[in-house]
Symmetry: D3
Subunit: 246 residues, 6 copies
């Protein structure tokens, strides 16, 4: 399933007809209730590789390969050239945090029940939650509290600490908000929107001087776009610009 | 104008009579309504360099030089040895965010209308906003939301997410607050204040171990100052210390 | 005293009977009112080393050694393998911030009076506050405001900006909360809890790709633990798992 | 072709029957005479993507995607879990340097004619040569000389500066040497060999403290291997150990 | 004098008529016999700033400003967009190493007498030698030996360890070699040459993945140059291409 | 034994009577023939900790603690404030490389028999060799060759690739050379020598801009030393300066 998820996101990333992506969960109960315990159990890991190592070092190699492949699948939304909006509702445990942490904008319902649940199954979360939370939420004390305790926190708490940008009353409202934001982004210059995503992701991980240098080089090609003229003219004429596909 | 801005900040940075700097906007309408579209248009960029390259690669070199020079001008407030307080009001679009992101402390009016506006003219912001916002505001979802959508956000929202430290009712109040903070900083040991600014900026961009190491070396000279004794004595005697210029 | 503090924390870090640590202050007046001015004065520094250098460069070497030793003592809580909860109340100045910034979860009373006080004695804080605050609180404007001005901020303000996770009415309440959290953490798999602390600390200081890579390698050994099976079974059976000491 | 190259290397990387890989060129004339100019021309790049952008910014996005895909193909040898030995002879221009820079051990004939040839077709090499040469050859003056001038250098010069480990008289000798080394590596514990490759690659790119930390975590699983006991016993008994596949 | 040096290099960096730069010394005795001891003495430093601080911390600030300004002057050759070749002969002490370490290609006479001389005047070299030597010469043991001991090493030794690319019998020969290399570089596409310098400098200081990413973005604009077509055609037709100025 | 080694080095590091340190091996046969296989075997590791974990994850924690403690012991020579010269002869396997890689200057006999021997006992070297070799020897192909193959290389080969600075005919010669270098370093300003070591180690691990910044701050205290005046005067008067202890 996660390999398919990556394939879909990678395809949308390069699809010329796509300007923004919304990821949401089916049904009312849960966005994602976490990893399928059975499938992810150690035997599962080894079985799907066709290996049955007994040496702890060889097991470790097999596990590392599996974790890295899983990380790659989930990270696809972050690497996706198009902006990704994640809408969460109901139960949003474990993988829900891994997945949504890779999105650009997070939206949820007020009563979403979040948890970094992995500690409760004897694991440190390894598909991205622990790597990304300290970089996307400002309070390190809060990040450690929820990650170490696996306690449930609500959509409203998620909004207060900045994990999500919007907490709406119902799933319908949250989807509507996501569509509104996605529509807004889709109307902008794709050169500008995709460049902004790339530069923000680069900035988060790099020193200021490196980020400024990279930005200058990036824009040395990007500002040669005809979108600048189109956008400026539309701004002056109060019309809506149209931009070439990307 | 931006070269002059840099010259002024660089001069104040080394001026022995200055202890703190306040940057604010003239008039009631705007702190800064963004880049002068005409001047910044591509032709403008090339014209001011006396070049008319048609080769996209040579245009790119010219653009990169221009962006880096512009970044250098705006970054001067961050590199300035003295603390810089930025007071914003009214329209504060585009360059307003670039400029204020370099300041140490941001203050605004509640009704300031902020926007990372560049996307609306077909550009990814390249004078520092995208490099600095992820490092000065804790919610990455919020940073991406406002940067990708170019939506307007108020001074109150800016306070809630931590972009500014104070949002006051009127421009007059905001200026008064800035003066109060500036006066407070000006009474402290300049060795302590300027060292604190330097070490915080270094810490933001470096690993913890590197920051601690740098801090130890920095203070190995700084704590030899006579300001420590003066400050301590004044603390005990409840008098106001005076410190040598720096 | 700080060497003893390090010895205690280092011992608890490896003690097989310890699952979580709470650091709090004795008495009602203060968690920590800051460095003992007399002991920390320059003469103090040199005296305790048995050196009386007059050369500013040799003094600097002596100061650097002293600062690094002090940093090492305070940093022990961060390096400690077990989660550390810090409970603050009353006056919490200077070293209180250095110390608590190393803890994983910070709890305080609403009326705690915090201050990054060092500027008021002519110093830039050098035992860790300036290195850690930009990485544990999301608003850089707030961090600079309190660090440059040495102004007092309350427990409630600390909660609002995310410096602490909980602000309770009384010290008794704060301690109770800390015990509740500590008890919760102590019931979890120590492999999972200690791995989570390590991976979050690593993530804070490293690029995303490096953090993901490290996480995969870390868990390649960690998920071979029998705790996973125990935790999963307990989860299914709704019983409380017991885990081997670590 | 390069996508196939990556597929082959990726397959060998995980193949349990492979212990070491040798990459060499067919025929006598050349290991690789560089990129196929026709295929790599700009039109070629755009054509194979099915895009015909005229906007310089959209062209840039297309080029960037192409370069990154090409880099990924060539980098596969560096990421390959098994050690890769590259044997070069005859003309070894452009891509020959990109490819061989990713190998672990480089071997050539004395009369190999190397060149970082890209400058001569109006390009800065972008498939890895400029990124890797400064990290695999110690003399930065030499690296810049050959990269800026595109001048031809011999196998003997490559040996003198450390780009290759062995320069042999003939291609046959070079292949024989590679087989000798490969055979030697294949007899060792694969846990030890593959761990050594991973840790050296990590060390090259990371600070010392980070490398030591990563090494400790890596080996915390790896030294639990039964290979240690087998290797030690064989060492004492002067027999040749056999190790499980990996 | 060093401010003038920077002005000259900065001007040549952007001058459209310049393709390569050679820095050499006048006369037969020395390329550079090191810093003017009198001018650089502490009093000198303070005097030229018009300050007479007695406080060690304020002296330190003044020294730091002076060192950074000096570093900026010397670093200009490294930041220069055009390739810089440094030719050394005779005495080449102290600043000679600082200066030449910033050049791209180093050439000397066999009997050049080099020394990292600063230790002999009670100083750790601070204008760039200690920062750059470990990154431009592969043997760290050699770098430490000459830097700690201040011992003299010859042009031939410099060639052997890779500090220089060529050691010629006489100054005349060395200049002739530099002119030959400069002429060669001047005939190449300036887009390719200047991009190669930039990418190599970036690679030296960054992780591999960051270097590859930056390279892709850099070339996304650069390969749109008409120089590629011109160079390729000239290659096929065996003619010498001409390239637009940059 | 290694804890004692660290204690000795740490003591010499701060001893005011020491200016340089030489580490050499007793007897004729070996500098170090590598780890005591018995002591380092897994049981050994667990036994000395008083633990008998069977859980692979708990074993991993125990191993990691042990490796880090061992790394700390060996790294003491690198962190030592005084320059350390390592003299090797005879068999210099495994730990011999770990230890000597931490020294500042390496000297050996021509017939020293070196080997990164760990692969032959089923291990990736984890006490520092793999972390340091890529940073102290320029040829990455050579580093990988000797680390992956565990093949023996001579003192002469070590000199050729830059691992050592001097290869002398006999152990007596090598010791004499070390004493000569140590005597030379001991006559210099300790402020200058120790600063040079610190700045070179910092430069190796940091980006150029960070190294230059650190250097400026370091020297802002260091150049206030009276050693500068003493050294300069002695230079002018052709006398030997004496410097205060450090």
């Amino acid at each position: 399933m996660w390999l398919e998820y990556k394939t879909i996101i990678d395809t949308l990333s390069l699809s010329h007809d796509v300007r923004a992506i919304i990821v949401s969960g089916a049904g009312d109960r849960a966005f994602c209730s976490g990893l399928d315990v059975q499938a992810a159990s150690q035997n599962g890991v080894f079985a799907e590789k066709g290996l049955t190592p007994t040496d702890p070092a060889r097991k470790a190699v097999s596990i590392k390969r599996h974790v890295q492949e899983f990380q790659d699948c989930i990270s696809s939304a972050e690497k996706c050239e198009k902006p990704v909006i994640c809408v969460m509702h109901g139960i949003s445990f474990g993988l829900a945090i891994d997945m949504s942490s890779c999105a650009d904008i997070r939206i949820c319902t007020s009563d979403t029940r979040f948890a970094v649940k992995e500690v409760d199954i004897g694991l440190a979360a390894d598909i991205g939650t622990l790597s990304r939370l300290p970089k996307i939420v400002g309070s390190f004390s809060w990040v450690k509290d929820v990650s170490l305790s696996a306690r449930i926190f609500s959509g409203d708490e998620a909004l207060r600490v900045g994990f999500v940008s919007y907490a709406l009353p119902t799933k319908q409202d949250a989807i509507a908000k996501a569509l509104e934001v996605a529509k807004l982004l889709a109307e902008k210059s794709p050169i500008a929107v995709q460049g902004t995503k790339e530069l923000l992701n680069h900035a988060r991980d790099n020193k200021l001087a490196d980020s400024l240098r990279y930005t200058g080089v990036w824009n040395s090609a990007a500002v040669q776009t005809t979108d600048v003229e189109r956008a400026m003219l539309s701004g002056l004429k109060k019309t809506r610009p149209t931009f070439e596909k990307l």
